[in-house]
Symmetry: C2
């Protein structure tokens, strides 16, 4: 078991959140859907950040918000209906403009079934420009778990793959259920669209083993977006989500 | 408070399930999204049916499954981030080919903030044809709450409105994240697509007050579907989701 750190206000630096796979959290393979898992990871992140003093309500008062820069998730297996699972999360590091957050997904017995790392930036709500985290929220540094005390989070970072496709395999424009309060494409919905662009028969037979998503420009409500796909070695896919002018909104690599 | 009935195996005939609005359960208006609520209602239904002896695992062994025939939901207001809410559910009636299930959505204080009624059929997994519920599962009748003991569920059933539009306002083909195990369009995803077809600015300003959906034919993976819209009095919309040959997969009426 991990040692639990407590700050002055008793918030835990490494915290674990319990979940259960309900029937309508399943995908069509009858395993926990990756989008439900993604949302629960983000819910855990919010719940973890809140008592530490940098939940998004507090950030809102400061005129800033978190934006998702990168997510890398690696799953050995996915829980099934009525399975309990837990998400353990902590902050491994912070620099001026970025902070990381790691996750371990554990089965009912506490054994890891997946790991994830993520990178976040803090942006000014008005200008949408990055702000210096260490300056705006100096106490943030005290929430970082010292390296020697961090759980292992063995996810292999993949290499960026150039996508050479000239035609999109999938096009869409973010709709009401795709967007967040700011009218931008929700990060988990982006993942759903990326996976929707893959051959469904492949996904039905081979669950996503590793997925890396990097968000670079915000997709907007009703803005046409196209997903361009390059297929690598068996079960390996690289994709870019591009705007009409060619700007890359996000790119991702999937290994089934 | 409602009286709680118990059958021999102690399952409750009227049961209440507790939830909390997590950050990534919100829609872009920062209220609990109707699709998250819909999924939680279905999760509550499954959790309620399981100990009563007709959960879908048991039904699977019998070679049958539940299909959603109709859902009518009326919300006075939607909970917000971190709000607790409860879903109370029970079975008000059963006939040979259909059974009903009602829901009350309650705020943290137990006051109703919404109501829903639903109609379900039981179909043979192989033939996809309806089966006689009262014959296949005779004990089902004992799970029906006697009329005089039922909570009120005051949702007004709306009239069927003819949709006269000749061109769809929204087209899609169900993708990986839209489908269930059988490769059919998931009922809650159908609701998302219906609402996506409405003007988002209207939805941002006026939450869905009442929504009635009737499912008649199963939309299939990658099958092109179009949503045809007729606008009624202010805030009133009638829609049909049609297959390429004109067959109606489902229709719905929305009142904002």
């Amino acid at each position: 078991m991990w040692k639990i750190y407590k700050t002055d206000n008793m918030a835990k630096l490494i915290e674990e959140f319990q979940f259960c796979v309900e029937s309508f959290h399943l995908d069509c393979t009858e395993h926990l859907s990756l989008s439900t898992l993604g949302n629960q990871m983000l819910n855990a992140a919010v719940r973890h950040a809140e008592p530490l003093g940098f939940g998004h309500k507090k950030l809102n008062d400061l005129g800033v918000t978190w934006v998702f820069s990168r997510l890398l998730i690696q799953m050995e297996r996915y829980p099934r209906e009525f399975d309990k699972y837990a998400i353990r999360t902590w902050i491994p590091s912070v620099s001026r403009y970025f902070t990381n957050r790691n996750f371990i997904i554990q089965d009912a017995e506490g054994s890891p079934i997946g790991y994830a790392t993520s990178v976040w930036a803090m942006i000014d709500l008005a200008t949408r420009q990055p702000v210096d985290i260490t300056k705006l929220v100096p106490e943030y540094a005290s929430a970082v778990v010292p390296p020697e005390e961090q759980p292992q989070c063995p996810v292999a970072r993949t290499n960026r793959v150039r996508v050479t496709a000239e035609e999109p395999v999938y096009t869409f424009a973010p709709q009401f259920f795709d967007i967040d309060y700011n009218g931008h494409l929700n990060s988990i919905r982006a993942i759903e669209h990326f996976l929707n662009a893959l051959p469904a028969e492949e996904l039905r037979q081979h669950p996503v083993h590793r997925m890396e998503v990097a968000y670079s420009a915000e997709g907007k409500y009703h803005e046409p977006l196209g997903i361009y796909l390059s297929t690598g070695a068996e079960g390996e896919y690289a994709m870019e989500m591009r705007k009409a002018d060619g700007t890359i909104a996000c790119h991702c690599k999937v290994l089934l």
